[in-house]
């Protein structure tokens, strides 16, 4: 069983990874007759080193033992979708020359407080094992891992050629850890902190970069909730000739951005604008911000606007025509402020915003952004019973105007089946469809019916769909559609949906590509769980919380499937003998149950 698997990682830095190439036919070289093994190995090595894609490499490694061995020697980039699927020792035993590691930890529902803190996903054992095994490691990309300052210090000390550190949705470290990395990784090209929880240790980490010219190409610290030494940042930008991506945090004012742009604007391709508000209000004449943005001839990706002063928004107009990616999702922008801006963004492919732009704003997007591939609309006020500013009207407009849409995340209060059906016909390229109707169990607000037909149309007509998140009032029928049509679905997210076990059975029996299943607060029980046992070894994980599972059934599953780690997570006062299972998280593992499980986790 290969520990890697195909995946399209979710977009980071508003840029999606290319999909795996399909398996090519392979020439199987007979491994014995004509050539001695070591010659064959060398030939293979030279050939296999050109294989980049994970899928291809996994396939190649299954040809025969020789190929398995040589592939293990030549794989330089390793992807591990679940850090508990295998131990660090196994990684270093199988792959000898790893330069790049992508590691994912906690399940996604942990982001929504559905799991207590300190559950695990510690980076420490990985970094300490790799420190000895991979001295030439260059890149580490972590998602939802617990990383300490010590881990970062060890990383900085152990890998002299270290080039790229990307931490997405991580926590456990602070600015002191960042300071060490900045100081000791002399070849650092990329330091990207994305939506991570970074504690403010009151360390001037920006000053810790070495004094001479740096190799920095990308520096993203928009999530760091701590003031920075701006003078030091200016100096850093000034001596980083290769810098292309700079994402500032909200402690950088508009004047300061202005100064930075005057320094390095022409090279930048991606800019996170920080607060986008004036720090020093006393000055009468603000500098010419538009001129600074005019100098940004290469900027194609714009984000930030953390504390937007809307009167300065027009300053970005000079770059709009070039933008392929725009992130307004931290800015409370009204439709009137928004429309003049978006009107210029003809090349836009990725757009994130708050629902404050309203249906009206979405209509403007639909009218202008014909190249749109990815849209994410977040709620300004994420509560259940408010009047939502966006609805089926906005979605309908988008589906009619943006025919190339591939990925959608949409939060709203009201939706109709008709809008979803329309979208399913208008946007055949959809691979990711995530709709969150914030009111639980809310039906189609025009017809009063369940949202079954709408989601059914999506799975039926969007033939490339790989990721689906459903919401609103849904009966078993919706799941029947998913099982029947959702043949390519890899990730499914369900909340407050379905009537009975049959719903989950439809999915488990009908979706052969299902890898990641996350369910909360739905009436699925033991019968449903048992119906999927033929699938669980082929899945990355299953999460079920506040469903109707019993301890007895979970134990049965654990017993029947020894390579499956079955975790039951409950509060401290849960009696292990109690029958009701609050949270089930189970995943395949090559190395058995983990040793670092906290007290509130019971591994069956």
């Amino acid at each position: 069983m290969s520990e890697d698997d195909e995946d399209q990682s979710p977009a980071t830095d508003l840029r999606s990874q290319p999909p795996c190439s399909p398996n090519k036919s392979r020439n199987c070289i007979s491994s014995s007759q004509t050539f001695p093994d070591h010659v064959l190995e060398n030939v293979l090595e030279n050939v296999l080193q050109f294989l980049d894609s994970r899928c291809d490499r996994n396939a190649a490694s299954l040809v025969c033992k020789l190929w398995w061995k040589v592939e293990g020697l030549t794989r330089s980039e390793v992807f591990i979708g679940n850090c508990y699927a295998l131990s660090p020792a196994r990684l270093t035993q199988r792959f000898k020359r790893v330069r790049s590691l992508l590691l994912k930890g906690k399940p996604r529902f942990a982001d929504f407080n559905l799991m207590p803190a300190d559950w695990g996903a510690n980076f420490a054992p990985w970094v300490s094992t790799m420190a000895k095994a991979y001295p030439w490691l260059e890149k580490v990309d972590l998602k939802r891992m617990f990383v300490t300052d010590d881990d970062l210090a060890l990383l900085a000390e152990s890998f002299p050629g270290f080039k790229e550190l990307i931490l997405v949705c991580c926590e456990g470290f602070g600015t002191s850890g960042i300071a060490v990395v900045a100081n000791k990784c002399r070849k650092l090209k990329v330091l990207d902190l994305i939506e991570s929880d970074v504690t403010d240790d009151e360390v001037d980490w920006v000053s810790c970069f070495p004094e001479d010219v740096t190799c920095l190409e990308s520096l993203a610290f928009d999530c760091v909730e701590a003031p920075i030494n701006f003078k030091a940042l200016e100096g850093l930008v000034g001596r980083s000739p290769l810098l292309r991506k700079l994402r500032l945090n909200r402690f950088v004012s508009l004047e300061e951005v202005h100064r930075l742009l005057l320094l390095g604007a022409p090279q930048l391709t991606s800019l996170g604008t920080g607060s986008f508000s004036r720090g020093d209000q006393s000055q009468q004449e603000p500098p010419d911000y538009a001129a600074a943005f005019r100098a940004c001839k290469s900027v194609v990706c714009l984000s930030g606007f953390r504390e937007l002063m809307p009167e300065y928004l027009p300053a970005i107009l000079p770059v709009c025509a070039n933008l392929t990616s725009l992130n307004f999702s931290y800015a409370n922008i009204s439709p009137d402020m928004f429309k003049p801006i978006i009107h210029n963004c003809h090349k836009l492919q990725i757009f994130w915003a708050l629902d404050s732009i309203c249906d009206e704003g979405l209509q403007a997007v639909a009218a202008t952004c014909k190249e749109l591939r990815e849209l994410r609309i977040f709620p300004f006020d994420p509560r259940e019973d408010t009047e939502g500013p966006v609805s089926e009207l906005g979605l309908q407009a988008i589906s009619e105007g943006c025919r190339k849409l591939e990925s959608l995340l949409y939060f709203c209060q009201h939706m109709t089946n008709a809008a979803l059906i329309a979208m399913s016909h208008n946007c055949p390229e959809l691979t990711v469809f995530r709709l969150c109707i914030m009111g639980r169990l809310r039906p189609d607000h025009v017809t009063g019916k369940a949202m079954d037909e709408g989601f059914g149309a999506i799975v039926k007509n969007c033939k490339k769909l790989t990721r689906l998140a459903v919401s609103g009032l849904l009966t078993d029928q919706a799941f029947r559609y998913m099982g029947e049509y959702g043949k390519l679905i890899r990730t499914l997210s369900v909340a407050f949906a379905g009537d009975s076990d049959m719903a989950l059975r439809h999915v488990l029996e009908g979706c052969p590509r299902l890898q990641k299943l996350e369910i909360r607060d739905s009436p699925f029980g033991d019968v449903a769980l048992r119906s999927g046992m033929h699938r669980y070894y082929n899945m990355r994980f299953v999460w079920m919380s506040a469903c109707r599972l019993t301890m007895g059934c979970c134990k049965d599953v654990a017993r029947a499937m020894p390579n499956l780690v079955v975790e039951v997570i409950g509060s401290d006062d849960d009696d292990v003998n109690r029958d009701y299972v609050e949270t089930l998280y189970m995943y395949r593992s090559l190395d058995g149950p983990r040793k670092d499980a906290p007290q509130f986790v019971t591994i069956l």
Binding site: F112, A117, D118, D149, A153, P523, A546, C547
Partner: protein
């Protein structure tokens, strides 16, 4: 009556450990005369096992979630807010809360700084240690006693083993045992800033009182601790 007496005893002015004068005579790791060392005052036991820095996540601290298990799926939803719904990441929620209160002031930036919770009314205090290159934050309500707090502080400050990188006079944290020795000596004394802005020695008042009044913690060099007040000062 006895309860009252016990309370009085707890607030009695004294120079020893809360709990008795006899500890002064024990061949402690640190005591020099009546001067309290860090370890004595809060009975420090440096367990240098785990290096995990506890991310203080207020929402996750209690694992009590509302069970919204639906008995009847067609039943209208309860109006109470459900944990984790709508599925908006805490990070994003915090940012928007800051927006609404339109403050880049200390309070909101602190709330945002602790990231995963943003609960109002959090008693997050900064803990600094003289000579350390950084400071930490703790949520006092997470601990039940001075012992709890001292254990946590020990872990926090001994777990960071990076050497100094530039600034003068910083402790070399590379050597854990060295740090332990330092903390055990009478050189270090924990103090705190109370509501009135006065710097007090930790350990004089009952735990609950301490939690209510402590605004900031500082583990300072003993030589600088002279002249610190105790909370029952007549002034």
């Amino acid at each position: 009556m006895i309860g009252q007496l016990m309370n009085l005893k707890a607030t009695e002015l004294c120079l020893s450990l809360p709990g008795g004068a006899e500890t002064l005579d024990t061949p402690a790791k640190s005591a020099v005369g009546n001067k309290r060392g860090f370890s004595e005052t809060v009975d420090l036991m440096l367990n240098l096992q785990s290096n995990k820095e506890r991310a203080i996540d207020l929402n996750n601290a209690t694992a009590s979630k509302q069970k919204t298990l639906l008995k009847d799926p067609v039943k209208p939803p309860a109006k109470a807010q459900v944990v984790g719904w709508p599925p908006v990441r805490n990070y994003r929620k915090n940012i928007m809360t800051n927006h609404k209160t339109s403050g880049a002031d200390e309070a909101s930036s602190e709330k945002a700084g602790n990231g995963g919770g943003g609960a109002t009314g959090a008693t997050l205090v900064k803990v600094s240690m003289d000579g350390a290159p950084y400071l930490r934050k703790v949520h006092l309500k997470m601990y039940k006693s001075y012992q709890d707090l001292s254990d946590a502080l020990a872990k926090m400050f001994s777990s960071f083993t990076v050497g100094n990188y530039g600034a003068q006079g910083m402790i070399d944290f590379m050597n854990e045992t060295k740090l332990m020795d330092l903390l055990n000596s009478s050189e270090y004394v924990p103090s705190y800033e109370d509501k009135d802005g006065d710097w007090m020695l930790v350990g004089d008042v009952p735990w609950e009182m301490f939690v209510e009044s402590c605004k900031r913690l500082r583990i300072m060099k003993g030589s600088e601790a002279i002249g610190l007040g105790t909370s029952n000062s007549p002034f």
